[in-house]
Symmetry: C2
Subunit: 239 residues, 2 copies
């Protein structure tokens, strides 16, 4: 940034206006696949408003009170929330900003603008999730069950699922919802859970074998024992 003497003087004497400001929260849509179904991590509110209702985990953005100490980055706040709510390191989890919800009146207490993020947790990490330092009840619930949620969280969840559904097609998002090693049928189950449709096993397999020849995925040793014919195991190739 161009920093002239004049500009430094301006900043030194700058006093922010005393107009009302909204609170900013960062809310998380934490998704995973359990038993072939898409599930979302919810917490039970034990405060008004919406006391007793299920809600998306989230919290306030930490804002500093000076020009120099402005607080945490928005992305850092999302990572911190994720870690607080799940105990999982952000490194293990796919985390991306989703959308910002800023309708007036969406929180009856005060003006709150919520920057929503969504996170995809591999199912093999789900047992490691130790929910909430906030000692609030947390639970995975099936998205398909359309749980009633506090505030406009049902809408946020819907937007998140839409987003994941769309990105599945043209990104490697699916690999964030599958264990570190996986079979093609397992990958297919992820697609079917998210998209809510079925895929022809043969055609699906071929589609992802292209990834194999492109070097995106590679064979892992062993076979997955199933109820029928064992399946070959793959993993994402590290680069």
């Amino acid at each position: 940034m161009a920093s002239t003497k004049e500009e430094r003087a301006f900043l030194a004497s700058y006093r922010p206006g005393d107009f009302p400001r909204p609170a900013i929260t960062v809310d998380l849509v934490v998704l995973t696949i359990v038993d072939g179904a898409l599930e979302v991590l919810l917490v039970r509110r034990n405060e008004h408003p919406w006391k007793g209702a299920w809600a998306l985990p989230g919290g306030f953005l930490r804002v500093g009170d000076s020009r120099e100490q402005q607080g945490e980055d928005l992305d850092d706040a999302a990572q911190r929330e994720l870690e607080e709510e799940t105990g999982l390191s952000p490194k293990q989890v796919y985390l991306e900003q989703l959308y910002t919800f800023g309708r007036a009146g969406r929180d009856p207490r005060m003006r709150v603008v919520t920057v929503a993020y969504y996170a995809l947790v591999r199912p093999d990490l789900v047992p490691l999730v130790r929910p909430g330092g906030d000692a609030q009840a947390a639970a995975w619930q099936r998205v398909a069950d359309k749980p009633r949620l506090a505030f406009d969280h049902a809408q946020i969840l819907e937007v998140a699922v839409e987003r994941v559904r769309g990105k599945l097609e043209y990104s490697d998002l699916a690999f964030a919802l599958v264990p570190a090693t996986f079979t093609i049928p397992e990958l297919r189950a992820v697609y079917e859970a998210v998209k809510g449709t079925t895929y022809d096993p043969g055609n699906f397999r071929r589609r992802f074998q292209r990834l194999l020849s492109d070097g995106i995925i590679e064979r892992a040793p062993g076979k997955r024992i199933t109820a029928s014919k064992p399946a070959v195991i793959y993993r994402l190739r590290k680069r």
Copy 2:
């Protein structure tokens, strides 16, 4: 919303905590096509910081100071800004939320979280644009020229162009960047300006003639006189 007596009592006695809050601005990436090139509407800052630099138009979200009067919706703020900066009615313009930028320190004055929106203005509306009630200098500038911008606005612009580039492929966004009546070559010019590549005229035409048979677009009377063979005129079919 479930509103019990207990909840109403809670709200009546609720006093928001006195923790620091960020300011929220809504910034606009207003794009159009001029002479086959993608251009963005910029305003010149006449205040510190970044005095004299070009910046994206934008302004503060108006927040009420009570529970009942919480101020304007985020989307309404974007529409208001658009109208203030261009004089165009939001009805004539495609407007969509882009992304929220909340790095600490991105504004040296104070903590500012910016919710960015992008707008697509049809080139036939560009002459109607009467910039800024703020009496600040405004100008269209070519995106390809990579103008130096204040704050992190260059990054915001980049994200916007990326978004438009992506959505061109699977949405009807292109029709928001073309006059009310248009020819296939004009539509192609939009694609080429946004994507930065060239398209085979024959193949491009066929691709969009599918829209014709699908009833998305229809023939409009007359032909566009060009330097060579006149082109058939189409328009989006209203539904």
